[in-house]
Symmetry: C2
Subunit: 480 residues, 2 copies
């Protein structure tokens, strides 16, 4: 295979969509499955998901949340209980009609989400105030048939996600939980993936149909499109009433409980690829990189090979003691140049080069993936690599924040909005709160209200569409 076949052949700026697909496939994160709309994760892709899962799990546990397991099949009859919520999923549901040769009586849905199933069980499990709060998270997949073009991590018919479902004795406690989760989401995405997010509420039109309100975190991608990164819903008693999730309080009076649900999916990995990747391929934030440091020993005709390899081994041990994930690329018959390209394509945060001259100078060459800077580090300074990884992590978030800022504009005039929306970006524009204006804007420009940022409410401006008094300054954008 020639270098051209292996590397990324289009520029991120020129053909973003093709660039994205090439990065996913060529960095070996994922591949297409034989069924349209479905993908497979290869070890490097799944490893990023495992890293996120373990960070979320740690934070969920310290918030009193535990994990459980729900089956994938939900009987059609159960779905009827909360028709309004489920109706939105109907066109996307995969239906099981047969087991072996036999027709199943009540058709079985592959879960598009598990509210109905979880709350049927919660209603059995919860009897008294002693059973509350009940906070369970499920790491599973959801299935929603996607008719439009498949995009790994962004638009697939089955996707990995977590869905949390909590039950509380009071409205106040449930609403606090909604916000607590949204904060966990925001911190994790910013600190682990280096992607800045804007948090706030969805409009009535855009909220999860079963929710009283939906909080969301949204990000703007380099191509100017918005991506929903995760949602945390306050369900109020919308489900506890039809599903009879009730509890006897200390005074023995029965109440309907207050509920929340929330989820993030592997879409976060898609956001990470889009935010940080470049024309050479993937760029991984150190915290989630399966390999954080790759060491490439360089020698010709075995000259100085032993010295180089023993130094490389020493560095590996040194770094592993600091819990850095290291890999030595000692593949024979491949040139250093080939290896450099290969690891750049795969986005490994730091490459270390050790050749005969480096041994002479008692130093190594360090190449940072994210800005492609090279520098040298003396043998005595190897310990600094931990700090360098931390700095890379911070710099990546900082750069992404600057990108996002440059892609965010304040707008007051609808004519200006219309002329600029095609370029893409986040547009902060005052809104009267009326569905009519929201729908007209969508119809005329294709842009939705992505999020009404916290703190943007109660503004004293004019709706950009109808010029009536505004109630908030939502972010409008075209979305994925």
């Amino acid at each position: 295979m020639s270098k051209e076949d292996i590397g990324i052949t289009v520029s991120k700026n020129k053909d973003f969509s093709e660039w994205y697909t090439q990065v996913v496939l060529k960095a070996k994160l994922a591949d297409y499955a034989p069924v349209k709309g479905l993908i497979v994760l290869r070890p490097d892709g799944y490893s990023i998901w495992e890293s996120l899962r373990s960070t979320f799990d740690r934070k969920f546990v310290s918030n009193g949340i535990r994990n459980g397991f729900l089956p994938i099949l939900i009987p059609e009859s159960l779905l009827g209980k909360e028709k309004k919520h489920f109706a939105g999923f109907n066109p996307e549901v995969f239906w099981v009609t047969h087991s072996g040769e036999n027709e199943v009586g009540d058709r079985l849905a592959l879960r598009p989400t598990s509210e109905t199933l979880a709350y049927t069980l919660y209603s059995k499990w919860i009897q008294s105030w002693r059973d509350l709060p009940l906070k369970i998270n499920f790491w599973n997949t959801a299935l929603r048939a996607e008719i439009k073009g498949t995009k790994p991590f962004l638009r697939t018919s089955e996707f990995l996600w977590q869905e949390g479902h909590t039950v509380h004795a009071s409205q106040e406690e449930a609403e606090k939980e909604v916000m607590k989760i949204l904060e966990i989401y925001k911190n994790t995405v910013e600190e682990e993936l280096g992607i800045p997010v804007t948090i706030g509420k969805k409009s009535e039109k855009e909220k999860f149909v079963g929710a009283v309100y939906t909080t969301t975190m949204e990000s703007i991608m380099p191509d100017g499109k918005a991506l929903q990164m995760g949602t945390s819903h306050f369900l109020g008693q919308n489900f506890s009433k039809p599903f009879e999730v009730k509890f006897a309080d200390i005074d023995n009076v029965e109440h309907f409980a207050w509920q929340t649900s929330w989820g993030v999916s592997w879409r976060l990995i898609g956001a990470m690829i889009m935010t940080h990747g470049d024309d050479q391929g993937l760029v991984l934030p150190p915290k989630v990189a399966p390999i954080q440091v790759v060491i490439v020993p360089i020698y010709k005709n075995d000259e100085g090979k032993d010295k180089i390899l023993s130094k490389v081994e020493e560095i590996r041990k040194n770094l592993e003691l600091k819990e850095i994930r290291v890999h030595i690329d000692d593949r024979s018959e491949l040139s250093p140049g080939y290896k450099f390209n290969d690891w750049e394509l795969k986005g490994v945060p730091i490459r270390i080069e050790v050749g005969p001259k480096d041994i002479e100078k008692q130093s190594i060459v360090i190449a940072k993936r994210y800005n492609r800077e090279k520098s040298s580090l003396s043998f005595t300074e190897i310990g600094k690599i931990s700090t360098i990884l931390d700095e890379i992590q911070e710099s990546m978030l900082k750069t992404a924040r600057e990108q996002a800022k440059a892609n965010t504009k304040n707008i007051t005039e609808y004519t200006e909005f219309k002329s600029k929306i095609e370029e893409g970006g986040f547009f902060c524009a005052p809104w009267c709160g009326k569905l009519e204006c929201e729908e007209k804007i969508k119809e005329e420009t294709g842009a939705d209200i992505r999020v009404i940022p916290f703190g943007s409410e109660n503004t004293n401006k004019k709706c950009m569409y109808c010029h009536e008094q505004s109630i908030s300054i939502p972010i409008f954008a075209k979305g994925y």
Copy 2:
């Protein structure tokens, strides 16, 4: 709820099946889902699975195995490629025929196992010897419609498991992998779950239909029935040929690869419940217990309450520093007796009681769940609890070994076999190796060859059925 409703109401010896179901449900490990054949895991049940998963993952990683993700839907057309292997699953397959209102062209199977899907991809991913070995494990669920009665963890239509699929350049390397995995399985089940297993090969009749041979680990349960605990298959080139899993060797000659597949499921949790549980409920091996030590503070009318609670808090901190999972049961309005029963039902390995008299005597009471022994420990000896947990873990395996040994009999005469098989147990009996005898024995007694233990081959005895020269001494038993 009265104590009777909460506790186990049947004896393990009297009605094993009902006892088992009560333990699973009342210890809150699992519950039935609204679809026949499906169960839900509650946090205590899922936590045991997570603990096993993390132990297996650690061992897999150090054996060079990485995790990936496969979708749940497999097109019917793909299944045709290896008809022989798939035919066995046919009556159990759930079929998706519709997405939304639309009929899907090629019916989609919910995976009963992923060989066909994985190897379709492997065939793309593997080009040269550099891509080998390829060793990927998938933590997912498999679906096989169970027509017979549902039994949580033992017989369910969807089950959590891992399926590993490895590809090698040589037969020798693949066969080594098969054994390496079987060893990991055996060690983990014995060390973590305290269940002794017998390892060996399946007969031709009982092997996985796609395999050249199947290695297995089997255990005998207290009711005398055998349980298959995990299998590791040598697939030879049975799949690499139809799926074209080929590689160019160093000399550039193309070869079909050698493959293995292997899996364990949440059935292991069922085995743990059956092996260790008693009439009071669940008994958890310390290593997998979500809570290892529960502390019950005991006081009446707040007498000495402050001193007791501060001591209890001190013990908790002390134990948590040693990474012991501790819980303080400070629920008000519940008697110590109620709490003792509750934690015994849930199988927590150690209960610590701290009351006014204990404070006086500068000691605590320790109750071990597995043998229900009580002893006292002075305040200065709290550090010994780590060791006590280790001792419990070892004793539980030791006891289980004795149980298994008592349930294993050597048999040479078929008449004796027939008279004893109804009592249950493992029967080691010489066999000529012929399918005909194996089938006759099954037909006449209901017993299968569960495993041909390693080292039992080449025996110089007479087949218990036909009296011809035996080739091995398999274990015969009735199974789950």
